[in-house]
Symmetry: D2
Amino acid sequence: MLNRDPKDWLVLKRTVRFGDTDAAGVMHFHNLFRWCHESWEESLESYGLVALEVFPSSLREGLETKIALPIVRCDAEFRMPAKVGDQLLVEIVPRKVDSNSFQVKTIFKSDNNCVAIGNIQHVAIDVLTRQRCLLPDAIELWLEASLLDSDIQSI
Amino acid sequence: MLNRDPKDWLVLKRTVRFGDTDAAGVMHFHNLFRWCHESWEESLESYGLVALEVFPSSLREGLETKIALPIVRCDAEFRMPAKVGDQLLVEIVPRKVDSNSFQVKTIFKSDNNCVAIGNIQHVAIDVLTRQRCLLPDAIELWLEASLLDSDIQSI
Amino acid sequence: MLNRDPKDWLVLKRTVRFGDTDAAGVMHFHNLFRWCHESWEESLESYGLVALEVFPSSLREGLETKIALPIVRCDAEFRMPAKVGDQLLVEIVPRKVDSNSFQVKTIFKSDNNCVAIGNIQHVAIDVLTRQRCLLPDAIELWLEASLLDSDIQSI
Amino acid sequence: MLNRDPKDWLVLKRTVRFGDTDAAGVMHFHNLFRWCHESWEESLESYGLVALEVFPSSLREGLETKIALPIVRCDAEFRMPAKVGDQLLVEIVPRKVDSNSFQVKTIFKSDNNCVAIGNIQHVAIDVLTRQRCLLPDAIELWLEASLLDSDIQSI
């Protein structure tokens, strides 16, 4: 997987939909976090991970996710209004914080202008004990592949 | 519980919030179903049921919900626009369909005019086999108490 | 536009995301209506319509939508649970009801099995008077193109 | 209004609903921001403000909101999982940042333990020019009344 172009799984697209707006006529703020999380899921999937192996589900039929990745903090900056039909470029910038946690920054652009930035920090916990644990291997791979990409970019 | 005034758990209130609206300036349609479900939960709670005994949760710590109540169909009619700040009266009209399923009609009124009506039909299934099963006792009690109330109303 | 393959704008894809689920482990029912509406918007866009010409927005800068398309009723059937990561085929079946209204049926399939069906009925109203009016030309074109497609299919 | 007990409009309640959860069995993170915004609206309303005078709506019928209050940044910390049925105490701590902007911190507690904290920063803009402007008088009054309250608390 590491040979594929990271652009395929770290640069995505999203269109602002009518239900994302509020009566002020533009995107209602908290939908940004839904966009961030969905973009992260799309990135994992495009990189090659299987959602049922990362996320809990009652219908796993044998696949047992023993590690959950709850969110411990998040923040967002809103720089420009986003209106229905806007086609956004979505750049995903992952960062490993320590052996138990990682952060995903998501930058939304329209016509090369930054519309908004979201940051989400996850921590890995053992589902049964709810104690912190090492990040799942699949997430480690995805984080490393992202770093390789940014190393190349910074040369 | 049956001696309490059913008005306390079948007639509720709800205020339209800004995030419920879209760029047309009024409530975005699918939020109605969220309102219906939340009103149903509030009704069960006000009647005396404990949410963790009715709904699944990963943190039940011993409370094991063996029956789930998935929704098999729902519909809604929208008669008047609802705008931010509107204070709605919420009337809940439950109906047992058969030994495995029930329906909850929810009527939203503003100044005695009907704004919208939602209908949600649930079926009881065994969580492990996913086969239909008898309704949980707690739901049966809530349904019977509602019927008693409407019997009295129709005299 | 009528020469393009209708499959491009009446058959879409959607992946179930983690935030679409609830504690029962599967898609929370009302998200289906969000999926329906977003699929309809994606269909209009893929057919060639501009969102800002169909939907209201405070930032239209001259584009004045004089017709709104509020939803007057909707319904859904849920046949199978949808879990995180499920990749759904989305079939859109529009139907003109009368000169003022139309319906969009949306069928969600997984591995050729029907997961759920949603129906949404819109009515055209003049934004200022809030009286019913003729459907916007753009919507008429989209409806006619869809019918041409289903005529061909039924031969 | 200043003579009323601030507890009535700065300390609220909220129950976690089933639709707030995800397949991990607990509250899905971004719903916290919906809770924060709705609690803020409830606080304004309980203090005595009229929603239609603060928030835009297409159905204002004469009430013209010339000032919008878009959100420029927000953040949240999640300290404990919140499960369906949890009854939360909601404490609202407003703060004026400068003549154009204010922040609302919202603290969610369960059994006196902090479950989560959300922060939302709004800026006042003129709807037509989209330039920063002075905060609306109604918001100034609400902010001052909140400060009076915290002054009393700190004595």
